[in-house]
Symmetry: C2
């Protein structure tokens, strides 16, 4: 019995000791990042000196070169590129659009959707049919849709607390709207921007065409523009809409994932990835989406080094290329891992903006989730309350097939869709402390994953 | 035994039923606010049409008149004013300040602290002695301080997760710095602004003089200005600093708390207060501090009415006057309650900005806290995880003596001190969804307090 009690005590003491060591280290990580992080200045460079980084653009290539150099300057053990071929879509000249109501022309802000074809050089002018969803469209039928421009005007649901759920509930209009409308003979589509805000910023984003269906041009319209057009349509269903865009898809281009690595001291063959995507849309500076996630990921490894933490496992900061319109970087990274027989224990992605941290979504087995959720008491003091089943991230998604446990960093989502895919996703929209707290939260999770496995 | 089982079942069922009813009502409250709240437009009016509202100013009086009218328009059962006499400090002409380093003059942004005396009309020019705290100052002694301007340059600690803790750890420099320096013969004080950000915005705020100590002028300096001055001092300890301000304290002025009320249907004599403070500093528009809290408080009552919720107890939205430099409204409100023998069950204050909700701080007995904390499962789905012992709010503080349980609404604190008491605390800094979620969170708590008491 005495032995049992002693054993129980030892186990208890070891547990307490581990928790104490962990909590001390996590405090040190937050202190290091909040006192000394250069991540905000890195983001300033990436967004203001390099700027937009759409796949295949000169900006994307500059970002590859610069982040490679940046990670080399941090003295990581290895920094390397992974070649991937990426779609190369270009917007061309700024779009023009107006509502023609009798003799009155009212300009409205639009942006071609990524992947869309151009209009004819002189633009398209046609009557407009407004719908909220595909069912409504199909019920109208070809008779009423043929020759017209379809306005998709279903707003993101403002009552969803997590705005990403509201986004998921509306984004089919952007992704498949052109195809569904073309099936019924429409000549173009205009999609209400994906935001709960009412403003003048069109939100671009990717769309797809289905094979065997005519390719018709698709553009987003600002929410204020959509509201105006809808109001005018109620007054005059015969009004017309004009828009012109001359975007095009060029041949695939060569690009790269950028990877920085700290070699593990005990289990160098077990890899933990922390990453974001380096490409961005072309309208703003890709500050929240996803310059923040990239700079945070590099900061995770920098802070570890600065604190003299020698990870047991190999840590990799990965700047994925082409999340926005192809996911070639994410797919290529997983292919490379598979080909090289690499074991990826876990991957953490930050691609929901540089906002104040709320938690992590987990994709893994119930046992793996439970283990990660047992760390809640260590993370809750830093505002990380929402740790549980959720989504990982687009770029790390393909790693799931290798048995990798995925973690999606979950910052507060309220402001994200004010910026997402617009011209105002700029450096000024990111708060230094919020960015740093995100990096520290990711570093704390990576530390626990490295210490305790899954 | 059967009876016992039946009883247990009934109790269980009642409990479940209550929780279900509560959760349904809370969901309705959030939906109402997120779909229909006019609070953001109200805030636009208060900040952009009325603007700054320092106690005793024309703006403060306009805000009293307008919020009274606004609450009357909502059809509340009773709207009334409570007269209070308030301090009346005015800034006067914009301050001037520069560092004189040899022949070179470098202008720096300063703002007189609220309550400070003016400099002589021609300003003050003197050598500068820099300290981090009062102990360092006293150790220097009168020999080194006499005739000089003291620069208080201890930053807010960036490693505090809750920025209000960092503020509490630094604000003694602003509150008592002039008195401590004057005791040793200083001729003026310059205080590093209360923010973790590095920028060019001086943060004003209140300061006090002690009786029997000379009244020397006190101003805040932007954090960039403080860093510059400190750097130049290291290069040339003999440099001088010049500043001029012509603020003054006028006789106390008549002002008002504004109160709107929905009468309770079952216990009209038990009152639940929800409030913010209507006055603001004079530099910005008082958007986060505390236009947000005021508009949210009115929204709580509006949403209740819109949903047809008939509270059992009397609900009051209170716009307190003079939180910033006297607390006369908060003190006056409690005095009035005491005089009229009013029973105040609970008071909820929102005065930490219109940011995304995190929880509520509670001031009450352990039993009262435990009861409120038992509502966590109902509030956590809305991001309200931090519910426990904490602070209430300055304005509702005096109600504690009447046994009122105090609740401080706790939004995320990361961005608050970017704006606090500066010229950039403007409407544009407030996010619509974050403001509304705050109002809905307060309404959910008020609903639970009304339903279940404490």
């Amino acid at each position: 019995m005495k032995k049992l009690i002693l054993l129980a005590f030892c186990l208890f003491a070891t547990g307490v000791y581990a928790q104490t060591t962990d909590s001390v280290t996590i405090r040190k990580i937050y202190n290091e990042v909040l006192n000394n992080s250069p991540s905000y200045e890195w983001l300033r460079h990436l967004t203001q000196q390099i700027g937009p980084r759409l796949s295949g653009s000169a900006g994307a290539q500059q970002a590859v070169d610069w982040t490679k150099q940046l990670m080399e300057q941090q003295g990581f053990d290895r920094v390397f590129l992974q070649e991937v071929m990426v779609p190369h879509w270009v917007r061309g000249a700024k779009e023009v659009a107006y509502v023609q109501n009798g003799k009155q022309k009212t300009a409205v802000p639009i942006a071609a959707l990524g992947g869309s074809v151009a209009t004819p050089p002189k633009g398209i002018q046609a009557q407009v049919i407004e719908v909220k969803n595909f069912q409504e469209l199909r019920e109208l039928g070809a008779d009423k849709v043929k020759g017209k421009i379809v306005l998709y005007n279903r707003p993101m649901d403002p009552t969803k607390l997590n705005t990403f759920e509201a986004y998921a509930g509306a984004v089919d209009q952007r992704g498949n709207g052109a195809t569904e409308a073309a099936k019924l003979g429409a000549v173009g589509v205009i999609v209400r921007s994906m935001t709960t805000a009412l403003d003048d910023n069109p939100h671009t984003g990717s769309m797809r065409y289905a094979t065997g269906v005519p390719l018709i041009p698709a553009a987003s319209i600002s929410t204020n523009g959509a509201e105006l057009l809808s109001k005018l349509l109620k007054q005059n269903p015969g009004l017309t809409f004009y828009f012109k865009q001359n975007c095009e898809t060029l041949p695939d281009a060569k690009s790269y994932n950028v990877v920085g690595e700290i070699k593990g001291s005990e289990k160098p063959d077990e890899i933990i990835v922390v990453g974001g995507h380096l490409d961005s849309w072309d309208l703003g500076q890709g500050a929240h989406d996803d310059g923040s996630g990239c700079m945070q990921s590099i900061e995770v490894l920098r802070a570890m080094k600065a604190l003299g933490i020698k990870p047991k496992r190999t840590l990799r900061a990965v700047m994925f290329m082409n999340e926005e319109n192809g996911l070639r970087g994410g797919i290529g990274y997983a292919d490379y891992a598979k080909k090289n027989n690499e074991k990826h224990l876990a991957a953490v992605e930050s691609d929901n903006g540089g906002f104040t941290p709320r938690g992590f979504g987990i994709v893994g087995t119930p046992e793996q989730r439970a283990k990660a959720m047992s760390w809640k008491p260590l993370l809750a003091p830093y505002g990380l309350h929402e740790i549980g089943a959720g989504s990982g991230g687009a770029d790390i998604g393909p790693l799931a097939q290798l048995g990798t446990v995925l973690f999606g960093f979950k910052p507060d989502s309220q402001r994200y869709f004010d910026f997402h895919h617009t011209g105002i996703d700029r450096f000024e929209g990111v708060n230094k402390r919020e960015l740093e707290l995100g990096a520290a939260s990711m570093a704390a999770l990576v530390y626990l994953l490295d210490q305790h496995g899954l």
